[in-house]
């Protein structure tokens, strides 16, 4: 829940007030920390990442005036965490995050059309189309799992349902996405 209004935070950043960092931490610290932690799976790495997010926001605002701010900060956290993970050893890509990637692999199995390497843009458009047809709960599930890389148990706790139900629903959503990709001609 936002505790300081987005426009106030952006105002503080434009004024180059150091209170802006405190305000971002208060309003979005938990979300940003979780986004980074889900991918890095290491508290210290995640904490460093969070600090880098505040720095990146400080450097980019102004001139940017992102709306909504929460999504902007979480996006920076996700990008920084993925970059950090890539720059470290393969062993570092462990446990939960590897599982998220494995699950996503199901959507594009070995039947991928290698002659026409998929462009990120095409995939993204297909995912947007897929998400727009889902109801709120399914969108929440998909985005929390595959954008924020949330563990299944955290999603279950947030939604107040059992983990099994979340896993089953995610399985159905992956199947649905795969069908969507086939329908769009992105899979052979």
């Amino acid at each position: 829940m936002t505790t300081v209004d987005d426009s106030q935070i952006i105002g503080l950043l434009f004024e180059r007030s150091e209170q802006a960092v405190e305000a971002m931490e208060k309003s979005y610290g938990a979300s940003v920390r979780k986004t980074a932690g889900n991918i890095l799976r290491d508290r210290q790495d995640a904490e460093e990442c969070v600090n880098d997010v505040w720095l990146a926001a400080w450097n980019s605002i102004p001139p940017k005036r992102p709306e909504p701010l929460g999504a902007y900060l979480c996006r920076i956290a996700r990008n920084l965490a993925v970059s950090k993970l890539r720059s470290e050893t393969a062993q570092k890509r462990n446990g939960g995050f590897a599982l998220v990637l494995d699950e996503l692999s199901e959507c594009i199995p070995s039947r991928i059309d290698l002659e026409r390497e998929l462009e990120n843009r095409e995939l993204l458009d297909a995912v947007h189309c897929f998400l727009s047809a889902l109801d709120y709960d399914d969108r929440f599930l998909f985005v929390r799992r595959y954008w924020y890389a949330d563990p299944v148990r955290d999603i279950a706790a947030a939604m107040g349902v059992r983990e099994n139900r979340v896993s089953l629903r995610l399985f159905r959503l992956r199947e649905k996405l795969q069908k969507q990709l086939q329908k769009e001609g992105l899979l052979v």
Binding site: G70, N79, V100, L104, P109, L123, A157, G160, L168, F171
Partner: protein, 259 residues
């Protein structure tokens, strides 16, 4: 790797989707009103049907079935059952959910027994202790409103903990299954291989293995499949043990509907 490709591709997911999922708030969702109307209609029809059936079946029958008819009663029963398990030696003595349940809701898809007219009443209750401020232990318990027993439970201990924070150190798999059979009123049990699309594949474990050591057999988690003698149509029941980096978790009753 294809998974990475998809993950990378959706990095630029539109802000509205990212923002919408920052926290779970179904009431704020765009497009929800249409669906709500539909659900309301459905609920009104269900309620009308239920009311008619209730009258037809008689208030006496309903009263007999609805011994646990409020969320408060369900929470009370759940906490009492937790104490019963401690006395039996099924779980660690120090387990406690501090504070009131964070959420209690009816499980509308669950039925009291196999007779179709009892599938409407009563519904079981899910009692949960999750979120900030619940303390060391979090979890959930599903209360059967007919028997007053808990059909499913998940107990999690967090931060600097080991398996013995949720399971007695000397409890074997055999003893644990035997105690569960006793609690639910079954005449015996059989430990089997786990071969399930969603739970995964795990070999049947030796009954003499200590419960606290089970999770170490498989990385992060282990599913134990048990068939209870007298259980409905031989449905398997799953027991799960997780040994995460900063928490441990035990759940039992997965896949087990009525018993």
């Amino acid at each position: 790797m294809n998974g990475e490709k998809v993950f990378q591709a959706i990095t630029d997911l539109e802000d509205r989707y990212v923002e919408e999922a920052i926290c779970y708030a179904p009431g704020n969702a765009a497009g929800a009103p249409g669906r709500t109307v539909h659900m309301k209609k459905k609920r009104i029809i269900s309620l009308a049907l239920a009311a008619a059936l209730l009258l037809a079946l008689g208030a006496v029958s309903y009263a007999a079935n609805a011994a646990i008819s409020t969320p408060e009663a369900a929470e009370k029963v759940a906490l009492e059952q937790l104490e019963v398990w401690k006395e039996m030696g099924l779980i660690s003595q120090e387990i406690t959910f501090s504070g009131p349940a964070t959420e209690i809701y009816e499980l509308e898809e669950e039925q009291g027994d196999s007779y179709w007219y009892n599938r409407l009443f009563p519904h079981n209750y899910q009692t949960q202790w999750y979120g900030e401020g619940v303390g060391k232990y979090s979890g959930e318990m599903r209360v059967d409103t007919r028997s007053g027993k808990v059909l499913y439970a998940a107990i999690c201990a967090q931060s600097d903990v080991g398996m013995e924070d949720i399971i007695p150190g000397d409890l074997t798999v055999d003893r644990f299954c035997g105690l569960l059979a006793e609690y639910w009123g079954f005449s015996g049990y059989r430990i089997a291989d786990t071969t399930d699309k969603f739970y995964g594949d795990f070999p049947a474990i030796d009954g003499s293995v200590l419960m606290k050591d089970v999770a170490s057999v498989a990385p992060l988690n282990y599913y134990l499949t048990v068939f209870f003698e007298g259980d409905q149509e031989g449905a398997p029941m799953y027991i799960c043990l997780n040994d995460f980096e900063d928490s441990v978790r035990l759940s039992f009753g997965d896949g087990h509907t009525v018993g």
